[in-house]
Amino acid sequence: MTKAVVAMLAVVVVAGCGGSTWTGYEPLYPPLTIFAASSLQPAFDKIGQKAISQHIATPSFNYAGTQTLTAQLLQGGPGDVFASADAAHMTSVDSADLLAGPSRIFAHNKLEIAVGNGNPKGIQTLADLSRAGLVVVLADPSVPAGKYGQQALSKAHVTVKPASLELQVTGVLNKVALGEADAGIVYVSDIVTSGKVDGVAIPDDQNIVADYPIAVLKSTQNQAAANAFINFVLSGEGQGILKASGFLGV
């Protein structure tokens, strides 16, 4: 009994040392934790698989609304890379001195009106969203997509009475896909990858261009792999995947 306990303790002690002092061993494909805006999920899942198969890194993703990710990072959430859906949140992470280096824009996105398959309500413009009896769902202004949506609506001089201000773009998308809402404002990339809703284009003079910045976090254990991952996102192959998911390249 005592022997077993001593042996177990020994194992624990040895294992405990392994992490910090045993420098002879480096994992072949270093693990990375990527904090990524939820709109990036379809593209980043594919990019992640490529990164693994090309032995760049083994990323695991923490997807959430950019505002949630920012709150997590500001409260000390540990990660290697932060990919944000707008510049403002990247700036607030940067001003908290949490970035290891400057951020770089890796993609752009535009807005589109999401409507049910086949556009049963015949929505053509942003102005149509103010029609009486139409159930419109927007993202909350605290979410980048919601802030951009407000900007687009005010550019088009349209006032909408939303039924709900969703806390994530995916909330808007799901409510349109389930048929609970007749229309919502989401990213072009959301519509391209969803497949369950149709998109109605918003003309450029009313649209906005969302910048997606990416940066290495100061809390990274693996600066080199984190840089390599960002370079892969910016490479021709990474950009190709982003474009196929409805983003605009840089």
């Binding site: 039924a163 201000l165 909330g171 389930l178």
Partner: protein, 251 residues
Amino acid sequence: MVLAGLGLLFFLLPLAGLIFRAPWDQALAGITAPETATALELSLFCSLAATAVALVLGIPLALVLSRTTGNLRNLLRALTTLPMVLPPVVGGVALLLAFGRHGLVGSLLYQAFGIQIPFTTAAAIMAETFVAMPFLVIAVEGGLRALDPRYEEAARALGARGWMVFARVTLPLLRPAIFSGAVLCWARALGEFGATITFAGNFPGRTQTVPVAVYVALETRPDSAIVLSLILLAVSLAILVGMRDRWLGAP
């Protein structure tokens, strides 16, 4: 003792965190802010309405549960307690699929009367009832099982009919179980977030209850989120303490 202390500490530390980090200079402004009042009012209204619905539907359900036996009882019991173990967001999706505009029942309502439940205050009440009612049912069922059947038998032997026995004997005996169940149910309803945001959405004054408002504020105005949390905490504590003294017969 040590474990009990640890347990208590585990509960109290997050509360202490809230209190220490609270921007007390802004607390007063937060309490009087119109958004806070709106969210608090809506939260109290929805949680009390949910408790009322749970009382009306839950007590009969508990009666049926306590009178069935064997496999049927196990099945019914599992079904009633399902919302307790189900992640609330999943509950919200299930409610959408049942009562949404294209849901099983919701589509009939929409086609016949043009009624759409999601995004309304009724939806918030339904979401809270769905998640909180099991707490009441379980408490009342426990009370029923602990009931001495001789009181009811005596009443029957003295000539009382079924309804009379229930109203004059069973219900009064059940009062402590009903009250403690109702308080638990109300507390759960007050804190409900996941099912509400999924089924009812988020709109100030209509479906934005305090937990949802806290979540929205946490990401843009963390200070107001803490103030809002403290207010909800204080209101819940005041009501729980008050209720214990008055109805639960505190020792």
